[in-house]
Amino acid sequence: MNTWIAFWNILAKDMRSYYLKPPNISWGLLFPLLWIAMFFVRSGLGMDKLPDLLPGLMALSILFGTTSVLSVTVTFEKKSRSFERLLLAPIPLEILMLAKTSGAILFGTINAFVPLFAAMFLIDLSGVSWGFLIPATVLIAISSTFLGLFISVSVKEVFEAQTFSNFFRFPMIFLCGLFFPIAALPMYLRPLSYALPLTYGTDILRGSMTGSNVMPLGSNFLILAVFCVMLFYISLRNINRRWIT
């Protein structure tokens, strides 16, 4: 059986049914642009500070874009039992869940490039290390998507998916070094920062834009990849234990 036919059709259906719907497109475009506007209005900083803000904006766009849509759609399909259609198909669970999450990964990656695209008209981006920035963006999208998958497998109701997402998202915003350097956080909060995938993702983005990364980029990539694999396999194990009871 040609598993890839199933893979592409699951991805295409999800893109059509969820990600390419006007509310999601407008959310994907407006959310990052509003973040940019908010930072400038509130901070009163000039354009020269935009490269410092961009990594944070990109990371937030990915985090919110991926976790909000994926966790809700998977929970909705599970609740309406249409997810059973996928579980009944002769597709290995790993491939099935990769197909189900690919839409969110693409959506998150595209979301990240919205603030970057806007910034192209405002500042000079010639110093950006694209070789690091692009893979980092994709890896952040993968880890955030798998976090969304982990959330959707852990809850039963759609509203729980939203609440549980915020349980991870908001602490992550403040602890991953976006607004405050990790070194400036109280000692007891720092271990928590290093337990968040976004910490490593934003550090790579910062490094590729301004060269001001705190940890070596290689280690950041490695740790982020480990997070991706870990979150995916924990989610698969939970699906096996909770949904195929």
Partner: protein, 328 residues
């Protein structure tokens, strides 16, 4: 049918949820080309069994072999051989009927042109061609059920699992679905049908298993099950009076008779022929005007009641109530 090979073989299948044993050490086989009925009240373990056979649930113990493939450990190896129609229509509400079928076909690796052709063919066969471009969410219950069955056979599986296919839909749609099931079987599909409509099972199935509280208590051909009621004589009396009281009086006066209140009046059963004259006179002396007395031929429902002690009427009502609750 008896010389056909076994397509599904179940050995000592067991499943518990916390402290409740949902399916308790059941063993049976389904022959190629037959319609096998799985009958039981709500909570008997029918859906749990189907879920284990289709790969939606993992057995605690036991063995499942489909077409020689043992998939107790990994159901994925045999899922291409089976089609499943769950007890609730679970297609995608945002997709049209046509897109739903094409999407389901793609899950089995069917290529674009072939899946479009197959979807059109099934929409025609199920009389849904005019609704092909409408969203599934706008379908009536009967149409949803038909499309869900079409989605279950989109990949031409040799085995089809149908879980309560006619529950909660109107009479005409139920009739059409029964005809479709029959046609599918004639075309060679082996069908595993769970239902609580005993008359449906009697009409469609060749063999039936009665399952109560997770255990199979009887399994046989409909013909052999019916033989059990041979020698039973049943007469129904129709009248408008208190049936319970009439039954009490009859049983105390005619101790060899069994009596049961039914909506029309009473139903009298005996292992010997029931003499209608004395009974009518007795009832009329009791002040009851008998409108009609007729001999009832025993049905599978009587066999079910005899074996399980469960009233099918109560079973049907309970299921409809659950269905209404879910839909409401």
């Amino acid at each position: 049918m008896s010389d056909h090979k076994n397509l599904i073989e179940i050995e000592h299948l067991t499943k518990s949820f916390d402290d409740v044993i949902a399916v308790n050490d059941i063993s049976f086989s389904v022959k190629q080309g037959e319609i096998f009925g799985f009958l039981g009240p709500n909570g008997a373990g029918k859906t749990t069994t189907i879920n284990m056979l289709t790969g939606l649930s993992r057995p605690d113990a036991g063995r499942i072999v489909v077409e020689g493939l043992d998939y107790s450990g990994n159901p994925k190896v045999a899922q291409h051989l089976i089609g499943t129609v769950p007890d609730e229509s679970n297609l995608y509400p945002e997709l049209t009927g046509f897109d739903n079928l094409c999407f389901c076909a793609s899950l089995y690796g069917i290529r674009r042109n072939e899946r479009r052709k197959r979807a059109e063919e099934l929409l025609r066969a199920f009389g849904l061609q005019d609704a092909a471009g409408r969203k599934f969410s706008g379908y009536s219950k009967g149409m949803k059920r038909k499309l869900t069955i079409a989605a279950g056979i989109i990949h031409r599986p040799p085995i089809l699992f149908l879980d309560e296919p006619t529950t909660g839909i109107d009479v005409s749609s139920a009739r059409q679905i029964r005809r479709l099931i029959s046609d599918l079987n004639t075309e060679g599909t082996t069908i595993f049908l769970t239902t609580h409509y005993i008359e449906e099972a009697e009409r469609l199935c060749e063999r039936i298993a009665f399952i109560v509280s997770g255990r199979i208590i009887r399994i046989n051909t409909v013909e052999n099950l019916m033989r059990q009621t041979q020698g039973e004589h049943v007469v129904q009396f129709a009248f408008q009076a208190a049936a319970d009281k009439a039954c009490e009086h009859i049983v105390s006066t005619f101790p060899d008779l069994r009596c049961q209140a039914v909506p029309e009046g009473i139903r009298v059963e005996s292992s010997r022929p029931v003499r209608v004259g004395p009974l009518v006179r007795f009832l009329e002396d009791d002040g009851i005007e008998v409108m009609e007395a007729r001999k009832i031929l025993p049905t599978l429902e009587d066999v079910f009641v005899q074996i399980t002690g469960i009233e099918p009427g109560a079973m049907k009502k309970e299921k409809e109530k659950i269905k209404m609750g879910n839909n409401g």
